[in-house]
Point group: C2
Chain length 146, copies 2
């Protein structure tokens, strides 16, 4: 039984972010990959939609420039033949400020011939923004909520 594409991709991604080793991850991304990580791109320019391997590698380089992954726990996982969905909890450090950031992420990936062709990532972005700012944002209680 061969290893699921997700495990190979996940190892290569973390090696790229932490060790700036981009060769493995490049070989695991389809030239025509369709990629989106939803979130506020004004604050985090590496979020948003990207088309094609080169654009995605640029994003991964920017993430590597800004963060280090300390650990991640896969809280939920579903594997299909060529697809995977998981919910993860990441412990990161923001490199410029040395701030610890703890982040929950949901990831839907599709592979073709062992290469990533589609990736959609959802982040608990309000939590991310508050941690990156280093302060909480005052929120009113929603009117009408019982």
């Amino acid at each position: 039984m061969t290893e699921h594409s997700l495990w190979r991709f996940s190892r290569a991604l973390h090696r790229a972010i932490n060790d700036r080793h981009f060769q493995d991850i490049e070989s695991l991304i389809d030239e025509d990959v369709d990629w989106a990580v939803y979130g506020p791109i004004d604050m985090f320019p590496f979020l948003g939609a990207r088309q094609g391997r080169r654009a995605v590698i640029d994003v991964i380089r920017q993430v590597a420039d800004n963060f280090r992954v300390h650990r991640f726990d896969r809280e939920n996982i579903m594997l299909g033949v060529d697809s995977a969905a998981s919910m993860l909890r990441y412990s990161l450090t923001a490199l410029d400020s040395d701030k610890p950031i703890s982040l929950r992420v949901a990831q839907f990936a599709q592979f073709r011939a062992d290469r990533l062709i589609n990736m959609r990532v959802l982040i608990d972005t309000f939590d991310l923004v508050e941690q990156a700012l280093g302060r909480s944002i005052h929120l009113p209680k929603l009117t009408g909520v019982v």
Copy 2:
């Protein structure tokens, strides 16, 4: 072939929120359900973790008191025998302000004997907060981002 638990649950959930019909959804939730919707509970008290059917039904009632679902598109879906992961885009109205809210959500569900026993939901919460406030929150560009 019987229908996957997710479809029945999804129909009952939307019927509860829009028509305040809670009987169907109650019969599809395990007494000992483990439930968490991650997000800022100060603004949205119905977010957060809940244990047990009664607490979850209370949450669904609070959502029904505050929102109406106009439509939802399932952008990604993975089904296991007793589990499901999906990414959805919701179009809602906030009932107190009549404000339209468009929301991306990732949902991981586990069922046992057709009843929900575990639910984890991740929301693009910064987007949600800005829409609920009706204004954008100024964000600095993250220092060090190339």
